[in-house]
Symmetry: C2
Subunit: 450 residues, 2 copies
């Protein structure tokens, strides 16, 4: 397994670093894939990272390593490096990866670096920095193959040998008109199977998907995933081809978006596992917990109003946790299924009524099952039928309402274009807590006559 291999690699590199076995180490480092090295990097201290980095001899490998680092590690790493040593590494990297790093650096540092880079490279990077981070423009690479439609297959292949050696993923050849506007697409594969003197316009496909620079990266990812393509061309407002988004970046986006959704639903906001500072983590979580704190205090005021009933029937309190727990759990089930369904495109905001009705039915059925069970426990413990009925009814109400709220809230938010993942999590759970407690006490005091 990958993770086993990582562990072995991390262990042996750490051991060699401790022993100072420089020559052995540099042999291992220069043999290891940069993607693996970046995993090792995360497990090392800053001092170790610097020593390891200096052992890499190949500038391109240093570049791949840079592009895999998050910006904090990157900044720590380059702190004591000379600009003259950093620049050639950046120049060897893909412009989109450079823009990702540069765009997050303090402005004076990024300006200094851009000034020292080759004009052609820094212009590409600055071009990308104009676009929002999470749009097609922000994630595209400006290296692509664009040819005129009367170029022959032979000439196209020749241009590949001469001009386009730096293109990252040369599977698609885009065909543009004299104004640089996208008119068609062909593939390397077609180039080698057609007669060499056929012009591109004879065999290109004019059904070419493209996206505009300001399209949200999540939409771009969905498009690439749906149509099983390897790259999608990015055009500006005038239909001019300005870059491509490749499938490897799409994979990263899909993973990142899934992580973000999961964390949002858990009320952990933008906290990531790589957030190392305890202070930062605490600050991110604090406001999310505030929702459940306010909810809890509201529940407190509700219960407080039933003090006289509780003084008579203290055991009413004993059922609070089970009623809240059952409601909370089925509410989480419903909201998670709905939020994920919306994210993967399996559910649509317009289906709100059928989805909510389905969830309500499930909540009612499961509420009856567990209401019967928990009501029986109450009956066996206190032999008081009106109490048992109150508890059973409260479970039914709590679970049905929880399924209703858990599905209706994210569906409703999706409908008015608010991210359903944010709106769910702690807010839904808290609302369910309050509603459950209120119903329980109203039902119990009514049936018990207190």
């Amino acid at each position: 397994m990958l993770s086993d291999r990582n562990r072995i690699l991390v262990d042996s590199i750490k051991r060699l670093l401790r022993r100072g076995a420089t020559s052995h180490l540099s042999k291992i480092v220069n043999k290891t894939h940069a993607a693996d090295l970046s995993v090792v990097f995360r497990s090392l201290s800053l001092g170790e990272q610097r020593r390891l980095f200096n052992m890499i001899s190949d500038i391109e490998q240093k570049g791949v390593l840079f592009s895999e680092l998050d910006v904090d590690t990157f900044q720590d790493l380059i702190e004591d490096m000379r600009i003259e040593d950093i620049v050639p590494i950046l120049e060897s990297m893909q412009a989109d990866d450079v823009a990702d790093l540069i765009g997050r650096l303090p402005e004076d540092l990024s300006k200094t670096i851009l000034d020292k880079m080759k004009r052609s490279e820094s212009e590409e990077v600055e071009g990308l920095l104009r676009y929002e981070d999470d749009t097609a423009g922000g994630i595209m690479v400006p290296d692509f193959i664009a040819l005129k439609e009367d170029v022959t297959a032979r000439d196209a292949i020749e241009s590949l040998q001469k001009e386009h050696s730096d293109v990252e993923m040369p599977f698609y050849l885009y065909v543009v008109d004299e104004y640089g506007k996208l008119v068609g697409v062909s593939s390397l594969r077609q180039l080698v199977v057609v007669p060499p003197d056929r012009p591109l316009k004879d065999f290109m496909s004019t059904d070419v998907f493209s996206v505009q620079t300001d399209m949200d990266q999540e939409e771009v990812a969905k498009l690439v995933a749906r149509y099983d393509i390897l790259a999608v061309p990015v055009i500006d407002r005038t239909n001019r081809l300005v870059g491509i988004v490749t499938v490897d970046d799409v994979i990263d986006i899909i993973r990142k978006e899934a992580t973000e959704d999961i964390l949002k639903m858990a009320g952990a906001g933008e906290e990531f596992v790589e957030t190392k500072s305890i202070f930062k983590s605490t600050r991110i979580r604090l406001p999310w917990l505030f929702a459940s704190c306010i909810g809890g205090i509201l529940a407190f005021f509700i219960i407080d109003r039933f003090e006289s009933s509780l003084l008579k029937f203290a055991y009413l309190a004993a059922f609070i946790p089970v009623i809240m727990g059952m409601g909370g759990n089925i509410g989480t089930q419903s909201s998670t299924i709905v939020v994920r369904g919306l994210a993967t495109g399996r559910l649509h905001a317009r289906d709100i009524w059928s989805v909510v009705l389905k969830e309500l039915t499930i909540g009612l059925i499961l509420g009856l099952v567990y209401g019967l069970l928990i009501g029986s426990v109450a009956q066996l413990s206190y032999s008081m039928f009106s109490l048992a009925i109150s508890v059973a009814l409260a479970v039914v109400c709590s679970m049905s309402i929880a399924a209703l709220v858990g599905s209706a809230v994210p569906m409703g938010f999706a409908r008015i274009n608010i991210d359903p993942a944010v709106a769910t999590g702690p807010f839904v759970t808290t609302a369910i807590d309050i509603i459950s407690v209120l119903f329980y006490f109203v039902i119990a005091t009514t049936l018990l006559g207190v």
Copy 2:
């Protein structure tokens, strides 16, 4: 946006179906990408699906549609079709997609279909059916380009034109020895840039990643994602090349695994949004809720033991929801961050102590903040310092322990190779509920002297 385009397409197709505008409809259907049609399909009734399907004239498009359907819809759809009409569609599809569908059909039906298929096609499918669904063998395609190492670039290109026209993604050319064992890899791009009479062995790369047929699909996906490759060769136990896994399938796996993790954590098990039957959904959720039911009943017995205290100080009950809620929420935050960190490879099971210590510290800090806040509410409401202190202390304990349990449980499970996503969700929340209630009553009764 994609979803807007879908909606418009679904609406107009539904309208035309109602109106019976067959010729207009069949024009639209045959112009629409099969991936889009499959989205439309999900919003239609079975009758509408059948009518729409029959309007598709191109067998290959029917094939793409088949491969996008889940097996339930597929089975409904083919129920009234003749085997003779189904077989040519399946033959036009990729073997891995056919195997996915056939493998999930009732055995007699799948046997009948395989018997009617062309020998070469059915053998490929049967070959794939031998592997587990979620392994490299189960998701690979058996179509790839494998050439001997002394073949020249020119001959390799020629073989592309003649033999390998059915290969799905011809970017990599694998190089095998006389026994069919994988020795290297080259790319279509390299073929066109090297002199035509150079043999593959001169320019192929011998650093070729490969996976064995029984590797878990999640591991395969991680490998493709980490090394930014478009396809990974699959070898059997004797290092013979038997297939490739392509990046489009990897994208599907990454999305599916993220969905599965999210649902497991919410205690919705294997329920998917496309599960249409209420009965099936209910059955899937029932056992997961059982954990929280048992937990709630345990909490009931705990509180029941403090009945005499409650009869004296009924308002003790009013703080149960807020204490449970705060613990539950921070526990969910911690466990979600840990589970996702483990899934994305950012955390390792071996880091258990540092991760748990970090979470415990965060829990303690946030516990102090919210303990102070909620304790103040208690003090303002009842002006009873010992009660306020009890509530505050209970919040601190509940939140610290919740962060501890929420992080330690998934880390511990990962360490003994149990899926941390399953072990989290309802179990952690339930454990936290019980612990919170117990601590609260022990602290309160001690400090209040009842």
